[in-house]
Amino acid sequence: MKKKIFIGIFIVFSCFSLFSYENEISDSVVEGSVVLADKTEEINIMWLFLCTVLVFFMQAGFSMLELGLSRSKNAGNIIMKNLMDFCIGSLVFFFIGYGIMFGTSVFGLFGKSKFFLMGSDPSEMSFWMFQVVFAATASTIVSGGVAERTKFVGYLIYSVVITGFIYPVIGHWIWGGGWLSRLGFYDFAGSGVVHLVGGLAALAGAVMIGPRKGKYTRVGDKIVVKAILGHNLPLASLGVFILWFGWFGFNCGSTLDFASSSISRVMLTTTLAGAAGAIIAMVITWVVSKKPDPSMSLNGALAGLVAITAGADVISPVMAIVVGLIGGALVVGSVELIDKVLHIDDPVGAVSVHGVNGLWGVVAVGLFSSDPDKLGLFYGGGFATLGIQLLGVVVILGWTLSTAFLLFFILKKASCLRVTEKEEMLGLDISEHGCESYSGFQIFTNM
């Protein structure tokens, strides 16, 4: 019996040990995976860091593009606008913008916490960084549309308002857990939130400020449209390359997760859409005006990139080419429409590139999405996805146009919007900043 008892105890003990061991094992496994989880967060911060710096660099891209497509006498002003909308924008976004966009939601309308990034952990801080460069992108898009005639102080005020209010509110609705996102509206990396908002604000600005002197002249009862050439195509092209480079961060980073299986796909669709946009813009200008136009081809590339941004992770590579092709065609058409028919003076094509194609990008999700959760029209999803995407477009249009027009209207009333004719002729560099951008160079300025 003793033996039996012994055996019994032994067995029980061994089972216990087995049991306790099981705990130990699973503990250590848990520990193992805890270690893993830890690294995951750090790696993710690294991922966001990488994408953030790429998107940050887009500021340089926008700056070079706008510089290149406008006249030399305003180059210093363009530099200041592009530098300052980031600098001011990032402080404003730190103080209030981020809180409105990502704070605890009040009825899905706006956020009400996280101002000054109070109580943020590293992950949140890296998320803020990623968001602030997006906000700055939305803001800087406008710069090109109102270039060469806007009072500097007016531009600064504008940039406070867009990064502190206009952008964060719509951003909250779509990305911050607000009502639109709850309805299922999908905007992966910001064709709508960033580009359409920026493009519409540029439209409002361009309309309220009016065209540059000499752009449209009435001859008899016909309005003659004059081309005002950009002064530095090499810089403009550099800008586009920088933007494309940054766009990889913009789109791929929007997964917010280095472990997302979409990253490769997003790179691929982004590349193909941009390429297709540039090619088609070149082809159209080639056919229409007999010569392939560099500045329009550059815009075409950007158009393709903007267009794929909303659906970069849910549109197939081949369809991304289609989206890009349409985007490139849209930019050529709408630049002509806006300039020759509507007589709105948009020096760099910001409205066409970001506005028109931002809109197209949002709609394209509704047409081409192959994601089972939100199938597009052409993938058998009927009008469900498309409908909500269109609703989103309407909402963005309504919100942005109303607030932006109001803003620019007030600025106009306050005489903060436009420089005098004389200052415009002299160039904003001298009149607004007392500087010369190309000291020594002999530059012929007869406009």
């Binding site: 000499g214 002729m425 001298i430 007392g434 500087c435 002999q442 530059i443 012929f444 300025t445 007869n446 406009m447």
Partner: protein
């Protein structure tokens, strides 16, 4: 044959050209120059240090005309370039002794136009 040399404000070039075309003067040569005149220039500040810009951007137009076109051309320039403000510029007239069209070797007043 006379050479009209006008120094005008750069932003007036288009207007001047328009007036000249109206007056049937189609040929001219344009140079960009820096002018020092009554306008006096202005002072700007670069990195905290004043710099005086007393050479202002001007455009120089050279037009060779036959005598009978001289006054019309001058009138056209005056019309196109005048704003009434300091800095409008000057017109100088000098004599041309010979004019040759390189392409055809035409000489004299028929070569001018």
């Amino acid at each position: 044959m006379k050479m009209i040399t006008a120094y005008i404000q750069p932003y007036k070039l288009n207007d001047v050209k328009k007036e000249l075309f109206k007056a049937q003067v189609f040929k001219m040569s344009i140079t960009n120059v820096l002018g020092c005149g009554q306008q006096g220039g202005y002072t700007e500040i670069y990195r905290g240090v004043d710099f005086e810009v007393n050479l202002l951007k001007k455009v120089r137009i050279d037009i060779a005309v036959n005598e009978n076109f001289l006054d019309t051309a001058i009138e056209a320039i005056l019309k196109g370039a005048r704003t009434g403000e300091i800095g409008d510029g000057k017109i100088f007239v000098t004599n041309i002794e010979e004019c040759i069209r390189i392409r055809s070797n035409d000489r004299g007043s028929e070569a001018i136009g």
